[in-house]
């Protein structure tokens, strides 16, 4: 393999991993944008989505009556629904009562929620890796020595489409406008009659839907899922959100892709054991020079 082939191959792997990071990172950044909470349990929302899809895909009675792609579609819809429900319940039960409490209280609750969900998943699904059916045909193309798989292309295209959809939702719909307004001045929004609580619930649910799709793609791509994958992926995605500038949606997308690519390059050029070290060293360097992240805005002082 030549140098440029290695580079392109790692770039392709990095884009795949980065797309999944980006899908999760969007949830972190949206929730932070609206209520300034780092929802540490968001990684668990991601892996719950993957488990929900796995449950649907494992049902032999459904396998008998449906072609694989239809069942996969159904699994994704169920995963979105389950994760959205989880996001809603979490906000309603754990975070809303603490809305006016000091921010640290909510943060600790989020960490507690993350541990709670991890352990619940371990009790339900066991501590071992569960194999995730890879139903996407193993089609691969060899382009100048670089291998592209159908799975990679599905991940790129579906995450790009979802991000475009989110961009449209946030920038062009009244719901999106209300979300942006709420993230700036919750009190004013409340007095303008905007149902702030509902907007916050919806933010959690939308974030959860994105994470669940990320979860299904993760399972399909890597073939196994484990209860603690949520924690690790969540931490990485959170890092990606900070790298891009937390609270900034395009930042989360770019942060996710950059982190994914850095990790792959680390794995390709150093060793796969050193990929995290490489990625985080670069991250620290970026944050030294851009403390608010790649696209982070300077916070304007309010008079």
């Amino acid at each position: 393999m030549t140098a440029s082939q290695l580079f392109l191959q790692q770039l392709s792997n990095g884009l795949t991993l980065g797309s999944i990071y980006a899908l999760i990172a969007l949830g972190y950044t949206m929730i932070y944008g609206v209520i300034q909470l780092i929802n540490f349990a968001h990684g668990e929302v991601f892996i719950v989505g993957a488990y929900a899809a796995l449950c649907v895909m494992s049902m032999t009675s459904l396998q008998a009556v449906m072609p694989w792609w239809l069942l996969l579609g159904l699994a994704i819809v169920v995963a979105m629904f389950v994760s959205a429900l989880l996001g809603w319940v979490m906000e309603r039960l754990a975070y809303r009562p603490l809305r006016t409490a000091p921010r640290l209280n909510a943060l600790i609750t989020a960490i507690g929620m993350s541990f709670f969900l991890q352990n619940a998943l371990m009790l339900i699904f066991g501590a071992t890796d569960r194999s995730f059916p890879n139903w996407v045909p193993a089609v691969r193309w060899d382009i100048g020595g670089v291998t592209l798989t159908l799975m990679h292309i599905i991940i790129w295209v579906s995450s790009a489409l979802m991000m475009l959809g989110l961009h449209f939702l946030v920038m062009k719909t009244q719901l999106g406008m209300a979300m942006r307004a709420t993230s700036q001045d919750q009190k004013a929004c409340y007095l303008l009659g905007i149902p702030v609580n509902r907007i916050i619930s919806m933010t959690f649910m939308i974030g959860a839907v994105f994470a669940s799709v990320g979860g299904v793609l993760f399972g399909l791509n890597y073939g196994t899922i484990n209860f603690h994958d949520g924690y690790m992926m969540g931490l990485k995605a959170f890092t990606a959100a900070v790298l891009g500038g937390i609270g900034n949606l395009p930042g989360a997308m770019i942060g996710g892709l950059v982190l994914g690519i850095l990790e792959s390059m680390g794995a390709g050029y150093l060793s796969s054991q050193w990929k995290n070290v490489f990625a985080f060293v670069i991250l620290v360097i970026i944050l030294i020079f851009k403390p608010r992240g790649l696209l982070g805005e300077r916070v304007a002082e309010r008079a």
């Binding site: 009244q174 406008m177 307004a181 007095l191 303008l192």
Partner: protein
Amino acid sequence: MLRIDQISKRFGGVQALDSVSFELKQGQVLGVIGPNGAGKTTLFNCLTGVFQPEQGQVQLNNPKRDLVGRRAETIVKWGISRTFQNIRLFSGMSVLEHILVGGYTQTPYGFLSTVLRSKNFHRQEYEVQTQAYALLELLGLEHLKQQSAVDLPFGLQRRLEIGRALAAQPKILLLDEPAAGLNPVEKQELLQVIQAIQKRGVSVILIEHDMQVVMPLSDWVVVLDHGRVIAQGDAVSIQKDPQVIEAYLGKASEDA
């Protein structure tokens, strides 16, 4: 239309409102004046669900509704919306987007119809846009609709605040010092805007320091001092009231 009956509000040792009563009639502009700290903004906050008065009633007629103890969301839905004394516009959002956010309460479509782009959604969206454009035209902001709101000159920002409140399609509009910081030309324009709003059948309660704004506009003037109504009446009789002159107008003319 709106009856305020003996409302009182206390903050620690300060009696911010003390048995305040007055009535706003359909289609009227009612001016609330008084020195700083007289309780004007507290009054607005009690009417819009920010604070709950300890005593008294706030009643909306047709249909009859009790506002005390209600959430701001509900009160806006029932037809009372407001502007803020310190401009609170959203950065990164255009003029049109402010109007659309202000009208959010009037378009109760849910998340699913937004995502699925249902027929209902398209029809509502069309109506909302049409109303937003009509409102921008009324305020003379239609050529600025794509501009970032926080980059507008001060006078237009104030006008946009009014537009955002009007987007909720209120029956009663509460304006908290809309003329503060405006130059004489902008004040004249504000007068015209408020008159145009009144013509559309919206009743207005106006908190204002500037007599040149309050007096020509108001059908009824309520004077607050230390949380109490010290006088109320039409603009002409208020300007002659000796108590008012002493508490407020007199001091103002000494300053000048």
